[in-house]
């Protein structure tokens, strides 16, 4: 999925988010789509002033306008950000809306809204703190130095650094590995994990068990277990 430039104005932001939402709804019913790689020229490293598009959108009088990172975070299938250059500001927020992040050896990361007198406005503070812990998140937001790729991997912000190939290839390889897994189990894994992190452990365990037993009704489950016993590669249909 290649994203068009999003941050030119409030209108382009609203249009981008609405297009993403249409796509999300379409994919929700599409058994063939097993994961999504998200990229876009410069989309993770917008020009200064990108925050202004959020301000414009939030002041536009629309009730709860959808924003791109918020929509990305609602996809049922795993999402992988292929960060080919840098990720900063609202662009980093967009990458944080994805489940996995791949970058290049020279990518740099900055949550640098404060240097422009702005705040993250698309979930960046919440998602960053949940991902890297509150201490590290606070320091990245309050002292917005750029992190290199290795430092970003060290704190868990990035999952793979593409060395000697481009991030898109690495992201596609990850997507292909996900494509070999049972599709409903993958969606439920993501749901149990992300929803469960917002619950008490006890509630999360209940959610996990309920989804696990819902899977008992899928034919993929019997295919998977039978294929394993017969030492054959399974073929999943998403049913």
């Amino acid at each position: 999925m290649a994203l068009a430039p999003l941050f030119a104005s409030g209108a382009s932001l609203a249009r981008g988010a609405a297009e993403l939402e249409r796509l999300r709804q379409e994919i929700a019913w599409d058994r063939e789509v097993r994961s999504i790689v998200v990229r876009g020229a410069g989309v993770f490293a917008p020009q200064d002033g990108a925050e202004a598009s959020y301000v414009e959108l939030l002041q536009s009088g629309l009730a709860e306008p959808p924003t791109p990172a918020a929509v990305l975070a609602r996809f049922a299938v795993p999402t992988i950000a292929a960060i080919e250059a840098d990720a900063r500001g609202p662009g980093l927020e967009l990458a944080l809306g994805c489940d996995l992040r791949v970058c290049s050896e020279t990518s740099r990361f900055a949550m640098d809204h404060l240097t422009r007198g702005e705040l993250p406005m698309d979930g960046g503070i919440q998602r960053l703190a949940r991902l890297v812990g509150r201490g590290t998140a606070l320091s990245l937001i309050l002292v917005p130095e750029a992190l290199d790729a290795d430092a970003a991997r060290g704190i868990g912000l990035v999952h793979r650094i593409a060395r000697g190939e481009n991030p898109l290839q690495v992201a596609m390889a990850l997507a292909s590995a996900i494509g070999d897994l049972a599709p409903v189990a993958v969606r439920y894994t993501k749901e149990a994990l992300l929803k469960g992190m917002d619950m008490s452990l006890e509630q999360g365990l209940r959610l996990e068990a309920d989804l696990y037993f819902l899977l008992h009704g899928t034919s993929d489950r019997s295919h998977g277990i039978t294929a394993f016993r017969e030492k054959k590669p399974p073929e999943y249909e998403g049913r």
Partner: protein
Amino acid sequence: MPGFDTILYRKQGNIARITINRPEALNVYNIRMRDELFEILGAVKIDDEVRVVVVDGAGDKAFCAGADLSEFLTAPSQNEARMARFERDVWGRFLQLHQPVIAALHGYVIGSGIEIALCCDIRVASEDVRFRLPEPSLGILPAAGGTQTLPRAIGAGAALDMLLTNRWIDAAEAKRIGLINRVVPRVNLLPAVHELAERIASYDPQAVRFAKQAVIRGLDLPLLQGLDLERRLARLLTKTHRRSSPAPS
């Protein structure tokens, strides 16, 4: 305790040791093991002599290589399977032990094996340890708490990176992402775990239980309530001490 087929249970002083004991089958978890673990964990929980629990796997090859897939697809129905999960809630029992639990991990730690390790509080592994979560590749989910305990231990990003890629994780990566706390050479695994257990067992048992309770329950609470819980437990502990020490002369 007599009569167990799939686990061994021993008490040495204040340290209880539960050994997963199906080495001929890489210690894979089966229904029998569920019932035996359920029984022993119930007994350990109310045994005040036990101050620390150690969980390890018998044999050279594996701590536990997952669940016994030969028993899958045998449940009488989806609903009865679900009921059994909650009526024989071995994972709930595991997670609710008052005593600290230390996992001694070696060789293959796959699927349910990782989930058993994640029911423990401290994970020590030998250099040859190999982790993998194959569930989504089999059309199932981890259902021994793994989708909840794993992200709480290593974060959602790293957890998805393990769960959605079905790849092997070695000791170095496991240490880097926080899946294990310590790595030691294989010959040192049990001595290192025993030393750790002895050290914990030497501390005031009530303080140890409260510390575990404050951390585990506190993680489920908003910070302010977690701080309240900590203060309540600290006060309770000083009262307990006053009662048990001789009156000042």
